[in-house]
Symmetry: C2
Subunit: 425 residues, 2 copies
């Protein structure tokens, strides 16, 4: 209640009544004449468009798109980043779920695609998609995040970019599929099996080693994403979902699970995701996407239209389970107020936090910080870079960059003209 | 546990272990040679497709589409029905949310669209979309159902159709927007106001009267649907959401809310949704979409591929709040077993129910029945038609048809060849 720079109690609006309401007025274009004499706009004067078999967003929303790092699909990695500042709610619509693909999206015929389980099993099995859909299904809301999401935060100077460029490699969806434990139970696990090599049917056959304990815990073979079949870039017709773990391990276009007694030391686990830390150790086999949050509204690109009331809103998530608390500051960390979490909060999924705020028009610095139900706290940026290093701006050599698993906070400075920019605070 | 025709305990799979697992095998195409020598399919031998700015389903999913009653957009109502038998999970993806539109989808420019609140208020207000997004937002998972959904169930003989044709006019989404009570609080409600006339900016200016108590309870002005802006057919850029109430009242393309002291007796409330009942009274101002359920898997069009294990799965929902229980029968109602509900169960939203079932290949009749947390029970079909009448097949005169608010059960007969057809049982 006592937080500075206009943060209001998260339940202020629920209290109802006139006291607060009086403070919120002024955003309506109050005009009695207009209210009484509402004119027909052009779209009200004739029949509208045909309702199609499959809906797409309005043409007025064409700017609500993923940004592409490789829009011509040249023979290198493609990144498609989610525009979190243009979305709201608690998960990511399928059209805008982030994608990283190293060799495009394979055009897989689901009728002939097969999933093989072999290696240290009692009985190797081959599954068609039809066979998999006969098993009991579960639906779980989970985020997927690239280990390299938020990498620009390792720069020693704040990169002038917004939430899509900095944090666009995380999304959240309801995944429906078969528990991996069900399929492994069918195959029969040899007691010597400790890892599973998961392989995709993309042309690079991306593979990662997954500890068998995770496979038996909450891993899924997902076949539906937000109610419909997986999007092509998200692994159609089936992918591994490892809730809370590094996105790269959640192998898309899944075709093979080989049970083995040691990790494969495949490309990504041996190189990209085994970054050397300042103390000389390698950051290898660290799979968790730790507790994290960032403010989506306001954020760069969303200009505030004058002083007054706004809602500060953002996303928080953790491999540690449910988000328990998000604190927000409007004075660069001097005072904090607790945000409201949109219920129900799912484990290892986005939690949408919101807090009412009255901006007085002076320069302020906004930041959020999250806690999960296991007690993990989002570290400060200083804590993250002390342990893992930072890099000198401008960033040119991405390979040398500390780039993985940044989970510190993000600070947005609101300037007197209402523009929002990225700062370190 | 004792239910007939192969229904298993809903938690059978969670028990784990080999006993049940042994019974589930046989769906994998078990072939050791194939497992060891997985060949590269064509899509694994070259680069895949470009990742686009906005994702669409695989071309192999083109059959997963809404069925259109008026595919050329002739000057009459268009219906687009959701293919529930081809979806899974707990809500409807935006591409496939059902639509009924009487004059197409207006192509509204969100920058110039206005929402007016006037009539019995202290101060008439005009809101731009930008103004509305400054207020505190909430995200709620809610179903929307046409009052005429499931109308074919009033036929005195079972219409030979599947779940899309019979029940395709209901969908569920996460709606994010402003509580209507917040906006009304801004305008100031005159004590004499008892109804609100809500009007759309489609060319017919569809309008409905909403009791003010509902407006102050859980009504929303929604601007996001499953995380992104509303689809054009679902009311872009803003619509009324009246959780659990008749879809027709949840005015799309919302442009006006007039507070009044009596209902407007507009077209739909005076005619379509005021059907005369057998006892001579009119079914007017009955707004609730009562507790209901239907099985989506298996259902007509989804042929069972031989005896063995399957999951029976479906959807349940109620204006009365959360679904508390769904019972399933595999012997036409002689014995019942309780299905598992996918957690978390949201109020006035789809609940996905699931129960494992071992089919022995003999003819069976499947049916579901739902209860909500307020104690409402889904009535039998006999109870519904006793109160509201039925019509003689084939149905030709839709206007004379009892067609509104059917919420009885649906029975699917599984034949020995694995085909599924609609029966009354």
């Amino acid at each position: 209640m006592a937080a500075g720079n206009g943060l209001l109690h998260r339940r202020a609006f629920l209290a109802g009544g006139g006291t607060l309401a009086a403070a919120f007025t002024g955003y309506a274009l109050s005009d009695t004449a207009a209210a009484q004499q509402l004119t027909d706009d052009s779209w009200s004067r004739g029949r509208g468009a045909l309702i199609p078999e499959y809906a797409s967003p309005s043409a007025f929303e064409k700017g609500v798109a993923r940004t592409l790092s490789n829009p011509r699909g040249e023979p290198r990695t493609q990144h498609a980043r989610t525009p979190h500042h243009l979305l709201n709610g608690t998960f990511t619509p399928n059209g805008l779920h982030f994608v990283i693909s190293h060799s495009g999206a394979p055009d897989i015929d689901p009728a002939t695609h097969r999933l093989v389980i072999h290696g240290l099993v009692r009985r190797p099995l081959v599954f068609s998609l039809d066979a998999i859909t006969r098993y009991p299904l579960v639906s779980r809301m989970h985020f997927v995040e690239c280990g390299g999401n938020s990498a620009p935060m390792f720069s020693n100077e704040p990169v002038q970019a917004g939430v899509q460029a900095i944090h666009g490699l995380v999304s959240c969806a309801e995944w429906t599929g078969v528990m991996l434990s069900t399929l492994l139970d069918e195959a029969g696990i040899d007691p010597g099996a400790t890892w599973i090599i998961a392989e995709g049917s993309d042309s690079m056959a991306l593979s990662r080693s997954v500890p068998i304990a995770k496979a038996l815990d909450d891993a899924m073979v997902a076949i539906y994403q937000n109610g419909e079949r997986l999007m092509p870039g998200n692994g159609y017709p089936m992918r591994l979902v490892l809730p809370g773990w590094e996105g790269n391990m959640q192998v898309k276009w899944l075709r093979r699970l080989e049970l083995v007694d040691q990790p494969a030391m495949s490309y990504y686990e041996a190189r990209t995701y085994a970054q050397v830390l300042p103390d000389g150790t390698a950051y290898q086999f660290y799979f968790l996407q730790d507790v994290k949050s960032f403010i989506t509204h306001p954020s760069p690109g969303l200009r505030l239209n004058g002083p007054g009331f706004y809602e500060i809103s953002g996303l928080a998530y953790s491999a540690g389970g449910r988000i328990a608390k998000v604190m927000v500051t409007a004075d660069g960390g001097k005072s904090w107020a607790e945000a409201a979490l949109q219920e129900p909060v799912h484990a290892k999924a986005f939690a949408r936090f919101r807090i009412p705020w009255r901006w007085d028009g002076s320069p302020v610095v906004l930041q959020s910080r999250a806690w999960d139900e296991a007690g993990h706290v989002q570290p400060t940026r200083a804590e993250v870079v002390a342990r893992r290093g930072q890099t000198k701006a401008p960033v040119t050599n991405l390979a040398a960059f500390p780039s993985q698993h940044y989970n510190g906070p993000t600070s947005w400075a609101v300037e007197t003209d209402g523009n929002v920019r990225h700062v370190y605070a």
